[in-house]
Amino acid sequence: MSDERLDRELGEILRAAADVELPARLADRVASIPSRRSQSAASRGAIGGARTRLPIGSMALVGVVILALVWGVPRLAPGFAPFGAATACGAGPTPRPPVTVKSGPTPTTLPATPSPTGPVGPTPTQAPGYFEPAGSMTTSRAGATATLLLDGRVLIVGGSSGAGYPTASAELYDPETCSFSATGSMPAPRANYTATPLTDGRVLIAGGFDGFTNSLATDLLYDPTTGAFRATGSMTSPRSNPSATLLGDGRVLIAGGEGVSPNHEVDLASAEIYDPKTGRFTPTGSMGTARVGAATAPLPGGKILFVGGVSTACTAAGCDDRPASAAEVYDPATGTFSPTGSLLAGWASSATALKDGRVLVLGAIRNLPIPVLPIMRPQAELYDPKTGKFTMTGGHQTPVGMNATLLPDGRVLVLGSFDAANGGDTVSAAVLYDPTTGTFAPTGSMAVARSGPTVTLLRDGRVLVAGGAGPRGGDVPGPPLDSAELFVP
């Protein structure tokens, strides 16, 4: 056989062997891989040297769903608000059925964790406050950032858009006209970045990831006067999901997050400082614990509390994401982090500085009445900077809150709860924390159930709640929403 004929015969044989139809079941099996693997990754770690990170939001959700199976949280859903997009701005409270507040049942299968400081008692009465429609954003967004500008408008940037991909677009909400309008876009989509208002009115967009796999070191500045984003200096390390905090001197502390090594992600303990005057980043002291997605809160005297987040522990068997319970305090004067007390809870989702200097930390604790079951339940703690210790608060009314906002009167609005009794879906309920009593009380409900919206305190004391993900479909996050609402205390 000649070489030419051999080449031809080889090609024909191999092409004939390739004459197969793609089995539909194979397509289905492959399409379900992300959801199947994410569910198992938390306990197994990664395979083959790389690792799959269980999303922090999923960690929270898993805990909440398990919580529901054991406790149920009807107290978190005081009545059902009618679904439907908001249609007007400032139209008064959204009509809804009379609120029925159910008392949270004392668990019978799980003992209540004693509360050394927070009162535990009957369900508080309904707190004043209601939601009213605030129109619709120009783009549906979940996981976006919202930043109050000096002129009172709100800059809303990025997030996942309708298709689920990060978007580069941004828009402005004007409380005076009750309307959203597009503004300049980022040069490219990014997610899991931070947006920090600078003292000169600009907004620093730091880190994040490019929507595919890459953590970013590049940073942007949004200028409200021009409505444009422009590049500024780059961080010393790429960071996705870092923590960014405005310091008292106008600089910005950026710490932790996911970095990159040649073949896999790596949690960062390092931190750096952005100086708006020079547009440059310079390294500062490192945290004692590498953290991704830590919550921060300013403390009296200019120090910053770092709490929670996820830290990855790796062994020969793989890597597991674990909540970082040890808290740290950053001192801008010395540029160093120092250990302080540890969370009583397993993980924290938010840290809110109260007017009296303490910090309200919302999270969950892993309760182990049955050692083999990872049962988690919501927990609220107060950090006292004077003692450096965490103590429980909130009692049985503690919500599973993902967003906490300090109101002008000193109370804290908590949104983003999950209806664990309904398959872990989002709910429209909101609660208010009163530091003077140490209790949570239900308040008005949103018209639309949403998870992970942007929550921004406006200058007039109202709170803008925009976007977020709608009700979940099983393990699939709900679609990004474009509707917005205003909470009127």
């Binding site: 062997a17 793609l22 693997r37 040297g49 790389a50 990170r53 938010s350």
Partner: protein
């Protein structure tokens, strides 16, 4: 100062969507390649699935979306190579040969059919690395350099595999021709 923890979930969701979209677009061609390498559509289905699982687990190592084809192709080829090595005692030559004749019956004589059958058999009996090199070159029409990138081998090694693979195929072909000629 709380940050939107929902972003972590958004990130995971974006990854899942990117993975699903990229694999869905290439799944049929990848499945065909696995079928050609393995000569067994059933095993190719498992190999493609397992390669996709590995790809998801290593998703963070894909730094450039434009490199997905080569990146995933390498994972798939490695998966197929592992399977070929594990089943060294079970070459499904009959499957490959059968598929060839089912797809193209030209009726061009007993000797030609016998020679093709022998060639298909010889492909199935090649060393795994030689077989993969032959398939990538004659089915996907990749160059030695492209095969080297796809398999992680050096270009010289790929050329060597192609040389010895072709040599084995030619030997099998010549043996078949002699046998058929002798029968006449």
């Amino acid at each position: 100062m709380a940050r939107p923890i929902q972003g972590a979930e958004a990130r995971e969701r974006a990854r899942a969507i990117a993975f699903t979209r990229l694999t869905a677009d290439r799944l049929a061609s990848c499945y065909r390649l696995a079928t050609v390498i393995l000569g067994d559509p059933i095993e190719a289905e498992d190999a493609t699935h397992d390669a996709a699982v590995r790809a998801w687990e290593r998703w963070g190592s894909l730094r450039d979306p434009d490199r997905f084809d080569a990146w995933f192709g390498r994972i798939l080829v490695n998966e197929c190579r592992d399977r070929l090595r594990r089943r060294r005692t079970r070459p499904p030559a009959a499957e490959l040969t059968e598929r060839y004749h089912a797809g193209r019956r030209l009726g061009d004589g007993t000797q030609a059919i016998a020679e093709r059958q022998a060639l298909a058999q010889a492909i199935a009996e090649l060393e795994p690395d030689h077989r993969i090199a032959i398939v990538l070159h004659y089915y996907l029409e990749l160059s030695a350099e492209q095969i080297a990138e796809r398999t992680g081998a050096r270009v010289g090694t790929v050329k060597s595999r192609l040389h010895y693979g072709l040599k084995a195929l030619r030997a099998a072909q010549d043996a078949s021709a002699r046998t058929e000629g002798g029968r006449r």
